[in-house]
Every structure is written in structure tokens, then in C-alpha cells.
Symmetry: D2
Subunit: 493 residues, 4 copies
């Protein structure tokens, strides 16, 4: 396992292919600092003595090498692995006040571990071996990876092969003796500018005309032809006041302008039936990651709300306690259902454990429909100050500082410095560009509530509930009553 | 284990102490039939060949005798027991379209199993041995029990010992050589008119002035001095149309008019510190039962909604599918969190497993805040027919039947008999006295959302979330970061 | 204007054509009493000295005769008429604790007053004169009328002329020299069993193949061929305890089994373009009536909630006050928007004032989406007692009465008789068949929220809001900015 | 009436007393441009030929001089004035995509017009004459004013005279022969840095110990001793793409560091009973302004949502139409209830019309509880693009522009320039600092939902609704039924 310094060093050495606001920039550009800080934390946690007690959570034993590795590089080989991944995610997100961002990588490798194996079984291919070779390097070098899934999709009601421009879904445009050439672009490509490896997978189910779009592979983030056009939200974190961070994302419109990928990095190519499988499995693993990260974000917002209540001296008020309880319910319903998803996981033929689809989706949907409401509660309890707080320069200006100290005093038991810091931080997380990005991400990251609704309706046996109703109504039902889906005990599957 | 016939036979032989609408009635009075039918199902399920595959769920092995017993008489001795109880509850509730009602008994015995043991350890008493002796008979004879917890409470802002009438909380009024005499009344005493055993426990925490109210004991439902003033909702279930049931509750204002309880039936007496413990533990076990029954009620309402959509020919409409998905999310969030409560259970000193308090409460609260909304969705999709459907007599009247058949036709693929049955049953469950009772029970049964909110705020460490916020805001925090509460793996505790 | 005794006398003399639960019954059958009581109140209010100050609200001056008439028989000739109708509706509903039910009549006559005039202008017919002649009798004799609109609709995705059975939408089956013969059935036909006149109108827009379904006319409720198959919810109102009422609806599946209607009672016949117009106008007037009745129902539920809080001694608690405020917001948003609908009314060519379509629909929709939530709040504050209250006979039984008095005591400032009455009445309105009907009616009466959504999207100029957005985004817009729709001042139109 | 150039010119000449981020800045500093742009629009609209048809809305006739004035300087002398003010507000807000900001001034002068008169009547003072003299200048010179109400409040549970520092509520510290000296600070003081006149009023009801805090007066914004410590949100409006604006607020912590106010500018001084009156009346007028501005903000968000749906090619989808309908319901419930507030206005002794308190408060509360949900809907329909859109520089960079054009294509009927502009603008309004400020302002501006709840419970006669319930329950009620509060017709009061 490497240190965060090594991670930063590697980034600084990569080829310059990141565009931002009209410039070509280096990966150690200060505007990408927020994204680097988040990911760096995943190395720091493993090394930190004060997190020693969480070692079993933060690390795992590779099933390939038997070595201890960062759990973010691990393939889930048991229910316990899934539970540990969920817990690690919540813990890590606590440290950065939001997304830890390395989930993209772990979810992408787990999805590929399953499908590359299934492809080999079905088609006699060699994808799984290639994948494991690549993964061995990934684990041994503790590499940072992301997942490029979402195609730009063009005219939404049309399928990939029906678009006027076939590149609107990334595809293979040429097959060579030693690999393939891919073209297209992936959007909302989180953390792509600050990783070494981009795992490319399809965005949706594919039909038999769509073999050229059925491509899974791993591409170095600075490979020839890869161009990252990136954005990163501003978060007014005050270093002068000693706030850690900033911790914000870095997103990319990642253009693959005829990128060559050698065979040893190709994990699916043309098997259109499995294109949708890997797309859906990534979404499923990623929604399970949400059962860890989303409760953490709620924890941060709950803590922020409690902190605002303390500053305002209204902690004991009935309505404040009700709202805190409501937030706790959101985090624990999501987390609890994530536990159920792990407990009811299914072992795939590759040996990778796949969490329960219904529980992952109801959890992610619940988080998604509540995110704006949580910001609403925080704003409600904070009052208007995070929106109208004078700027940091006025706090530091000796001419205005005395007025700010005199007139910002609230709960007399909280020092004015802490009141000021608290409001400035709450402004940073709830009344800033970064807050807007967190809200959008809360709705859409990992698939919007609408996508989860579709997944639920596709996988849930509504007919069974209808049969319960029919029996009670005295309407004849052919099928025998059964109830085999949920509440499976550990080891039963 | 006994049959439902034996259960009914025993009821018919009990002393007459049930009052209803001004009369003293027998326990086989037709107005109590709905309550008897529900409980009888718990015997029938165990005996039914078509439920053979659920044997491990429906039965358990007594830790006292090693014999196979109905799981409703069992003490939870493992995480697997709690998961099985939850699953049994959902399964059984499916068969009766709502509460299975026998949970009162199982939750009462589990609470007493813990506290009688703790009392003995703390005070050198013999409660646990007495309890186990009583329980042995209870299990061997497959007895039906209920729990009398909720005191009538009089002037709500006052404590028990502050009431003008001390009997407004049930209490010991006399201690004899061979037992105690209790006086008071328990309200909302579900199924009391159709059980053999009433387990009496306190309703709340008690102070040191309140030893006389700290009484747990088991009383035969027809003991001298017990008077049951009962109600039972009407549900227009059509037997002529072949609908099973009716399945409705029977509630009681149970008066203990100086009832003598011999020592061997007394499990706590005067240890006020433990009075609250047994009260809260019953509530906790009961809320875990809700993680099974409430999803089942949602399943029934989901099935009813899907059935209405089928009758109306609108099953494929986008808004219908959205609403079904929303209902599924409610049931599975509650059930999934119930699984998490079991997985994170704690083993008490008595060996009984206690489910996690936060997960039980967030699950029960979520059910409670959604119940009316679920009826709303059903009404929305059903249309007005359940409210204006002509009466059964008009369906059977040859003069009006042809008009009803001609004019109630809807989806041409559903026979008119089934359409009629479907609407009549939906009327029975959503537009009837029984529906009203189900709504009130959905809010208040096992404690209203407000009670869960209080339990959550009392047990959740909000300060920890505040510390997460403070660290991110750069405000000094003394305590070390910790995250030990949730996501515990099986066996870890 | 007549008295309620005269109204009852007239009912008792009508031809027997009401079927209930397999019997042919009289209109003074006790099971219809709840419906008669409601409507009778509209006569009593006008005559009551204690309502003298509301005379201008409760009565109006006929534009046909210049005589003072019950406002329920009046055609709205001004904004003030619409405001008075709205206020009268709320006031009258207060007296019966829910629907006053006579709105069906007034809304039907207003819709016909507009369309019969428009038809004459367009087609040179004589409908309006006929209508006014019929109306003159209706006003002079203070007749009770209802509206038969909702067809049974058969296979919902199909239009009237596409049904396998053309009678699934009511239609003209024969034209004679002196009138027409109609066949079909109207469902959810509120108060039909307790009125003299049934005004029949189409249920939806019609196409040119559908002239035979474009029929508006007035039919005596006991005309030859009319058969009423009726239902009426039970409401456990205690007359022995001095509660007024019962006040519940009476609904009918009204069969028109080849009913002859003479020309003088036909107000539209075959002009399919206007069939939809009268359907939508009735819905619009009726939704404006909802801006009066729905706030009244909320007032009743608000009062019931406040009464429960008083009985339970928790009136001052923060959460109780929040919930009461929430209910008040619902009633006043609906009522206030109804005022706006009146203020922005449009004068039709016939001189009848038509309320604003957007305001009527947003008001009705808001009521519809909140109704179950209001019952939820009531249940929440009431506690479980309305669901488990022993029956009235036990209160009257001297053996059990003392126990009920002793153990139902709560707020010591409220006499036990009032506590008992309060809970019994809350049971009657929230935990009974009648409550179920009120819930369904709250969703579907006058058109469900979904229907209002459709009406809103059909009438609102979303493009204008999009143009506001485009201008701000710097996207060229051809149309000039305009804002002419809302906020019109009285007299401006 | 003046032009916006004159307004800008006046600002540029004011004394330098604005602090921002550690500097002392001029009022034409670019960072204040967004606030100036909003207010300037109120001058431009009056002058614009294309708004000529709204002249009666945008201007009024002064009751002091009979001259035509900008309506923002007008005292409401009729129901029609209130309706016109509401309409003007919505119209003006449409042009700037949010708050028009000049409402602070008009609401402050209307409140003072009422209370200065009442004070004179009660105490024989001369406030009203002074006020009218000052107002004459204000109207004739078309001055821009704001309202400094919200005190910093210190330890919230304590009253003004109980604070450790009495200056935590602004107060009179010295009375001189020619005026008073005031000290304190006002927070959330919107637009203070870009106005000429600051109207100072109390923040809450006052007790008899609190005469020194009962001060209303007008202070030039650059008066000696006034110090404005200001903030202004960034909004990434692209001028290079031709977007108008930016339009964002400028807020101030306005310090009154011993400011002298001459008698002719003092409108209340020491009459503590009327201190609360002016505070509450300003809030009331301001909440009525919200019935105009909040619907406008919803119109902007509705339009933005419709625009996003168009870009994404999903305008016809059922769920999109449902969500648009929901937004329309929010705007029209708020606006319609604002109309009702105007129609039910009361004429004060001064001749100023005061809108109905209940309708103003239910409208404002409804807006406040929905604001975050509206942003949620916009994010839902927009997809993630507003959060991850590359920066403007990349669109202008010829190296990356072709990729952005190729890969951002969506609905083929919308040109790529418009798609790009649409997403960039939606980012500016929903995923930016300015968006955060709009969310906080949507909750707290003019008083949070909690404040409206308190106002509603203080002014609504809940007892009357309880009496309706009691009569129906058969519980004796002393008071006669009455229903005199709402639905008053124009002219009736």
C-alpha cells in the first residue's frame, strides 16, 4: 500500500491532457486540489495510527495474492466483505464531509470481475484472466481508478445504433491485431482528472446490432487520445481559519479521441448480451456504496444542523429535536437497508458477492428523494447567516473585526471564534457552488430516484403481492403462496 | 403444539367476563370471530402441509425443553431466531391481510425473560425461575397470550404517583403471603378477549416513589376480578362470495378489579428501576415485530392497488408504476432495517437476543408516518367505487344483478365476478370500520412515530455527528473519532 | 322557499324505485336518513333566526323572477355571487360536519345555463328558453336537484363509441316526436336517492361520431325507467348522547333503463362539440364549490384535532400547535385560492359568471392531496382511543359505566361526559364507514388530483414561463413578454 | 421619476462606507453590480415602451402630491393598489429571474405610514407629518430605500433589555435637542449597500422597560457612523454568451456606530407599545410582497424545468408534466392567496390598506416549505449536467469547443448554442453561490415558515373550529356560531 504523497507524486508525473477553462493544466493545479484531497484521504486513513482499530475495515486480504491491500482495491468475496466495504465508505466519507470518491474504482472492478468470468464461461474467451492480471497490478500498486460509464447519449429517445452520430455512445471503431481503438465521450466522469486508471464500461443494455458498443476495458488516464475537459466546484474553505480541505469533486467530460487499448486491458468486446450486465452490475455495486456514503453525508448534515442549533442556543427546542430525528431516520434507513443488501447477497459464479438488488435500490432511492430536504432542514435551523455572512477578509480586517465579534455573539457558552468558524463552514457546505454540486450529486449520482424506481419495478415480484390480495378477496389464484425472497439468513444462500 | 380447534375449544370454556355493547358475552360470540380467526391462523399454519417448507420459520426448538414449539412461544436465542421471527410475522400477516396479533405474547415473554433474570442478579430474587416455570407450561400447551401494557394514564402531564386516583396506573394494592392483589385498567389491550393468558407489565419508567406500580405478572384472562370491556370493528367480508375471514382485531379496556396473582406468576414486584426496563424492552421487541408485520400490511395494500389497477385496465400507466414502486420502497425499507436490527442484536445476560434499538425505531417510525399515505395511494388508483359500491344484497338480487353486471364491466380480460369481488374486498379493507382501526393502529400500535422519535433521540449519539461537523469546521474536539455503532458483522457482538 | 318538512314530505310521496341491499325501499327509509338530514339543513338554515345575519349569503335574487330564492337554486350573475356561493358552502358544511351535498344541483344548473345559451347561438336551437322555463319551476318550488355525470365507462382506454356495449356511456337510443329515450347508467351519483330532479350531463369531451352521447337533460328522480341502486355509509352517531345527525351521503348507481325525456327537459341533444363543454363546465363550477366545502371539512378536522388535544391535556404542546397550523394552512390556501377564482371570473355570453379555471383546479388539487394527511394528524393527536373505544351499550350499562368513567378520565378540567362524547364523535368521523367514504370522496369527489393536474396543464401557458427562462438565459424568444393572465382586478374583466 | 442612469450616478457619489472582504469599496464596485442591476430594472421598466401596457401597474398616483410616481414609492390606498403591487412584483421579478429587491422600501414606508399616524392619535405626537414630509421627497426624487429590521439578537432566549450587551438590539443611546443618536447593528440587511435611504424599525414586540429600543427612522445610507460590511453571491452569468444580468443580491451587516438622526427623520421614538406594531406590520406588508415575488421565482424555476425538459427531449413524458403541474400549483396557490389577502384588506385609520394577515402568512409559509423541493424538481429533470458542465473557457477554446459541440448535442431540434446556454444558465441559478443564497432566502426571507406558523396561530380563531366540532359532538357551546372572518367581498370592509 502506498502513501498519499506517492499518489500525489504519480499524478504530477502524468501526461498533460487535462483542460480547464480554456487552459491545458497539470494534475497538481490548485483547482483540482479538492478532488486530490478526498482521494488522498483513502491512503492516509490506512496509515493513520488513530484509525488502527479500523484496520479490518480499511484493508482486506487479496484473493489473488493473499497480501493485505487497501479495501478500495478488493473484490468482495463474502457477506462480511460487503458489510466492511459499506462501513469503510461511511467512515471515510466522515473524514472529508462527503463523497470519498474512490468507490468508482472498487465498484468498477467488482462488476468486471463477475462479467469477465461469465463471458469466458459463455464464449470461451480469456477476459477473466486478463482482468485478474490487470487487477494484480492494480492491487499491488494501490492504484487509483475511476469508472467511465455515462455516455453523452445524444437524442435520448433513440438507441445507440439509431443516433445520427454513432459516437454519441462510446464504441470500438477499429480492431487491430494487438487491441482495439475506441471513440466517444463519457460525461459526469467523476475524479477522472485525478486518477491513474479509467475503467470504461457500457451505459445500458445493448441489442444485437450494438456489438461495437459492448466494450469494457481499462485505460490509463493519460493515454494518447484521452482528453479530459474538467470542472471543479469552488468551496470557500478557509485555510486561515484552520479548516481541513477543501474536499470537493472534480468532474470530467472525458473524450476518447480514437484511443488504442491493447488486448490485455480489454475485458469485454462485442458480447452485446453482457454489455447490459456489466452496466447494471456496476450500478448495483455503486448503489450499495451509496448505502455507506449517503448516510455519511446525512451524518455531516445532521452534525451541521446540531452545531447550528448549539450556536443559536436552541438545541433543546422540540422542533429542532424532531428535525434531527428525521435526519437520523434517513441515514439509518439507508444504512440499515444496505446491511440487508449485504446479508442477502448472492455469490456469483466468479466468487464475487453481489448485494441484493431490491435493498440497494430502495436505499439509494430513499437517499435521493431526501437530499434537498436535508439541506432545507439545515437552512431552517441555521437561519439566514450562512447566506449573508460577510467575507473572510472582513473578519481579518482590524477595522471591521470588532464589529463582527460584537454583533455575531449568540449562545454565550460558545466562543465567538467557534461561532464564526461554524457559520463559515456551514456556508461552505450549504451555500456555495460545492453545495449545489452535492445536491445534484445527491439526486443523480449512481442513478436518479427514477432509475431506482425502474430497477425496483423490473426486479420485484409485484404479481406475488397481487396474489396475496386475490386470495384474501376470494379470487382464485393458480400459483402456490411463496415467500422466498427476503430475510435470508447469513449462509443460507 | 395444538390445533386451532383446540384453541377455539379452550376459549369457549373460559369464564364469562367479556362485556360488549351492554351485554356479558361468550368468547365464541360471532362479534369476536374476526379476532379468533387471526390467532387461529397461527396454529393452522404450523399444521398446514403447504407451509411445510417454512417449518424452520414457523417453529423453533425450546431452549427450556429441547422440544419443537410454535415460534410464537419462543425466546430468541440467536440472531437467526430474530430473523426467523421477523420472517414468520410477515408470512403469517400475509395470510390474514393484516396483524397476526400473536406478537403481543411473544414480545411480552421475551421482555420478561431478560428482566426477570436481571432482577435476580441485582436483587437476589427468584423471578427468572418462576418465569421459566410458567413459560414451560406456556410453550408445552402452546398457549395464546397477550400483553397488557398501556395504562389509562389519567391526567397525562402527571406521573403515576401524582394522579388524583392512584389506580389510573395499574398497581399492587395489597401484598399477601401467597401473592399480590392488583388494581387498575389497561387500555388498547389487543386480543385480550380471545387469549388465555394476559401478561401485565408497566407502561413507563418509574421513580423510587413508584414501587407499587412496578409489577410484571401473568394473569389468566378469566381470573376473578378481570373484566374485559371490548370492541371489535366491523369488516364487510362476504362469506357468500367466498372471501376468507373476517380478520379483524378485538380490543379491550381490561379492568383489574382487585385481582389476586399468586407468587409463581409474579415476575417483577416493586423493583422500580427495572419497571421502565421491562416497559421499554417490550416496546423494543414489539417494534421489531413491526418490521415484519408492517411490510406485510404494505404488501397487502400494494397487492390491492395492483389488483385495482388491473381491474381498471391501467396497470401499465407510468403514474401507477411509480406509486407501486413507492409502496414497495416503504415495505422494504422497513423490512430491510428490521434485518439490520436483528444482525446488530445484542445478547443479554439471560441469553435472550435484543434487537438494535435504533434500527427498530427508525423502521417503526417510517411505517407509522406512511400508513395513511398508503391508503391514499390505494384510494387514488381504485377510484371511487369502494366508497359507492351497492350492497351485497343488490348483487344477489336477480332484479338488480343484471344491471350491476352490465355496468360494472371494466377491463374486459377480468371476469365480472372477479371485478365485483375485488372492489368488495377493497371496500372491506379500505372503506370500513376495520380500515379506520387499521389506520389508527398503523399510527399508534407499538408506539406512535412521536414515541419512536423520542426513543431515537434518547439512544442516538447526536454528539458524534456534531463532532464530525466540528472537525470539518476546524473547531477543536476533545473526543477521538469513533464509529463503533452500526454495521456490526454477525458474531462480532 | 320551502321548509325541510315540505322537502321530506315530497320525498315520501315519490315513486318507489330505490333498491338497497336487495330490497325496494322508500325514500324515508332510516338508512337514507343521513343523506336527507344533510340536504334538509339547506332549508333549515334559510329559515333559522340565528342565521338571519347570513341572509345575503344564503339567499339570492333570481335573475328570472326577481324573487328571493335559496342561493342553491341561483345562477351566478356576478363575482359577488360566486364569493357568496363559496361562503355559503363553507358555512353550510360546518353545520353538518362535511358535504352539504346540494352543490351538485347548483353546479349543474350553472353549467347548463351557459351551454344551452351557447348552443342556441351556434345552432339556432331553443335550449336556453327551455332551460329557463324549467329553472323557473326549480327556483319557485325550491327543488332539490343533483347531477348525474359520471358514466360507468367500461373499458377505460376506449372511447364511448368504441365500447363493446354502447350503453357504457349514457346515450339517446330513440328520438320521438315529443322527446328522446335515454339508456345507460351513472355511477357515484351522489344524493340521487334523496332528490326530486336529476340533471343528466355528459362525462367527457365527445367526437363527431359521438352525437348520441351528447345529451343534457333533467329527469325526475322517480321517472319511469329510472332505477337507483344505492349505498349509504354507516356512521355511529349517538342520538342517545344528543349528537345531531347522522350526516352521511347516499350514493347511487343510477340506471336509466330506456327513460323517456320530453323536449322541454332537454337542454342539449347531439351537439357533440358542446358535450365536452358542459362536462368541463360542471366540473369547473363543482371545483369552485370545493373551495368552500373542502375548507369546511378541514375546519371540522381541525376542530376535532383541537378538541382531542384539549381532552388529552396537550393543547399547548409545540407539535400540536404546528399540526393545527398546518391544517389551517390547508383550509385557507384552498379557500383563498377560491376567492381568487371568483375575483378572476369571466362573464359568459349567457351572463353567467365562470370562475377562473387555474385557481379552481389548484385549490381542488391541494385539497385532494392533503385529505388523508389530515385524518393522519387527527389520529396522531387523538391517540388510539377512537379505534378501541368500548361500544355505547357499555357506557349505558350500569355494571360497566363506573369503570369507564373512572378509567377514561383525562384532562381534569373536562367533564367525563364531554370526554366520552368527544371520543365517540371522533370515532364516528374518523374510524367508521363514513370516514372511509369521506376519505375516498376527498380524493375523488369533483375529480381526483390527477384530473386537476390534467386540467391545469391544458389551461396553463407553460410556454410563457419557458420564455421567461429563455430570455434570462440569453436564448432568443420571438414572442413579446406578457403577463395578462392573473391578478385581474374586480371589474377589469 | 428618474432613470436607472441617474440612480447609478447617485450611488457613485455617495460617501465610501462599504466594506467588502477587507477593503473599503465604492458603490460602483463590480462585485455589487448584481444588486445594482436588480434595482435599476425598477426604473427601466417604467421607462420601457414595451411595458407601456403595464403603466397602471408599474406606476401610481401619489396621495400626497397627485403626481404620477413609481409604484414602489407608493402608499396603498385601496384594494386595487394592493393587487397592483402584487402584480407589479411578479412582473418585475420575471425580468431579473428572482427578487426585485425594491419591496423592502415600499413595505417599510407603508408600515410607517400606518404607525406614525396611530402614534399621533394616541400620544399627540407629530410623527405622521414628519413622515409625510420625508415621503414627499422620497416620492418626488424616486429614491431607492431599504428596511433595516433584523437585529443581531445575541442570546436568543433573552429579551432586548436582558442582553449582556444592550446594543445587540439597536437602540437610542442619546437624545439631543435636534434629534437622537442610535447604536446597534442590523443583519441580513438586503440591498443596503446599493440604496440611498435606510428605514430603521424594531425587530419585535417590546415591553415597557424597552422604550429605548422603540425607534423608527430614516437614515441616509452613507450617514456619518453607518458602516456596511457586505457580501454578494457570485453567479456565473456569461456576458460573452449574451445573458442579461447578473442579478444577485447584496447583503449587509449594517453597523450604526452612534449615528445621529435629526427629528424630521424620526417616526417613532420610545412608544414601546407601537414598536411591535411597526415590526409586525412591516412583516405583513413584506409577506404580501412575497405573494408576488415567490410565484415569480417559481415561474422562473418552472420555466427552467420546462427548458431542461425541452433540451433533453422529454417534454411529453408523464412524470415531467406531473412535476411541472406541481410547480404551477405552488406558484398559483401562493399568488391566489395573495389576491385573497388584498381583497380582504382592512383600511387603517391612516387610510393605508393592510392586507389580511392569515392569507399573507399561509401564502408565505407555503412558499417557504416548498422552495428546496422546487430546486429538487429542476435538478431531477435537468440531469447532472448543471453540476459537471465544463467551464466557459473550454467552450471558447477552439481546441475543446468541437468536442463540446459534438458531445453535448441532445434534442436535435434545439441548436447546440441554445443547449449550451440553457445548461450554463441553469447552472448559474441552481448550482452556484447565488443558488444557495436563493434557497436560504426562500426559507428565511420575510420570516421563516416557523414565523408564519406563529403568526397564524396568534391570529386565527382555533376556538371557533373547536366549537364547530363540539356542536357536532353534542357538547354544549356557549358562543353562537359565527363565520365572519373570511370571504369578505370588495367594499364590504
Amino acid at each position: 500500500m502506498i502513501t498519499s504523497s506517492e499518489y500525489r507524486r504519480r499524478l504530477s508525473k502524468m501526461r498533460r491532457n487535462v483542460y480547464m477553462n480554456g487552459e491545458l493544466i497539470d494534475r497538481d493545479d490548485p483547482r483540482l486540489e479538492g478532488g486530490v484531497n478526498r482521494l488522498a484521504k483513502t491512503y492516509d486513513l490506512v496509515a493513520a495510527p488513530e484509525f488502527k482499530e479500523y484496520e479490518d475495515i480499511l484493508t482486506a486480504t487479496s484473493h489473488l495474492t493473499g497480501e493485505k491491500i487497501n479495501r478500495f482495491c478488493h473484490i468482495h468475496r463474502s457477506v462480511a466483505d460487503l458489510l466492511a466495504k459499506q462501513k469503510m465508505t461511511r467512515l471515510a466519507c466522515h473524514q472529508v464531509g462527503g463523497c470519498i470518491d474512490r468507490c468508482m474504482g472498487i465498484d468498477a472492478i467488482n462488476a468486471n470481475s463477475v462479467v469477465s468470468y461469465e463471458a469466458d464461461q459463455a464464449y470461451g474467451t480469456e477476459y477473466h484472466k486478463r482482468f485478474e492480471n490487470w487487477l494484480r497490478d492494480f492491487q499491488e500498486n494501490d492504484r487509483m481508478g475511476c469508472c467511465a460509464q455515462t455516455d453523452v447519449k445524444g437524442n435520448r429517445p433513440r438507441r445507440p445504433h439509431e443516433q445520427v452520430d454513432p459516437d454519441l455512445y462510446l464504441r470500438v471503431v477499429e480492431t487491430k491485431s494487438d487491441g482495439v481503438v475506441i471513440r466517444g465521450a463519457k460525461v459526469h466522469n467523476s475524479v477522472a482528472p485525478v486518477v491513474e486508471e479509467i475503467v470504461v464500461i457500457p451505459t445500458r443494455r445493448l441489442t444485437k446490432e450494438e456489438g461495437e458498443w459492448a466494450i469494457s476495458c481499462a485505460v490509463p488516464a493519460d493515454a494518447e487520445g484521452v482528453k479530459l475537459i474538467v470542472s471543479a466546484a469552488r468551496q470557500p474553505i478557509s485555510k486561515r481559519l484552520g479548516m481541513p480541505g477543501p474536499y470537493v469533486g472534480a468532474d470530467s467530460l472525458t473524450v476518447f479521441d480514437d484511443v488504442f487499448v491493447p488486448w490485455e486491458r480489454v475485458f469485454l468486446n462485442g458480447e452485446y448480451e453482457l454489455g447490459g450486465r456489466v452496466a447494471l452490475l456496476f450500478a448495483l455495486f455503486h448503489r450499495h456504496s451509496y448505502t455507506g456514503c449517503k448516510p455519511a453525508l446525512t451524518d455531516v448534515l445532521t452534525g451541521a444542523t446540531a452545531l447550528m442549533a448549539e450556536c443559536n442556543g436552541i438545541e433543546k427546542q422540540a422542533h429542532v429535536r424532531e428535525k434531527l430525528a428525521e435526519m437520523i431516520c434517513t441515514s439509518e434507513l439507508c444504512y440499515g437497508t444496505g446491511i440487508a443488501a449485504a446479508i442477502n447477497a448472492e455469490k456469483s459464479s466468479s466468487g464475487t458477492y453481489i448485494p441484493d438488488i431490491v435493498y440497494c435500490n430502495v436505499s439509494r432511492r430513499h437517499a435521493g428523494v431526501n437530499i434537498y430536504h436535508e439541506f432545507d432542514i439545515l437552512a431552517d435551523i441555521a437561519g439566514g447567516m450562512p447566506a449573508t455572512l460577510p467575507l473572510e477578509g472582513d473578519w481579518l480586517n482590524p477595522e471591521t473585526r470588532p464589529f463582527m465579534e460584537k454583533y455575531m455573539m449568540r449562545n454565550p457558552e460558545v466562543p465567538i471564534e467557534d461561532i464564526h468558524r461554524a457559520f463559515r463552514w456551514v456556508q461552505a457546505i450549504s451555500c456555495s457552488e460545492a453545495a449545489g454540486v452535492a445536491q445534484y450529486a445527491g439526486v443523480h449520482g449512481g442513478g436518479s430516484p427514477r432509475m431506482e424506481q425502474i430497477a425496483i419495478m423490473a426486479s420485484y415480484d409485484v404479481e406475488k403481492t397481487k396474489n396475496i390480495a386475490k386470495r384474501l378477496a376470494g379470487i382464485p389464484v393458480k400459483e402456490k403462496y411463496s415467500f422466498d425472497r427476503f430475510g435470508v439468513m447469513p449462509g443460507e444462500r
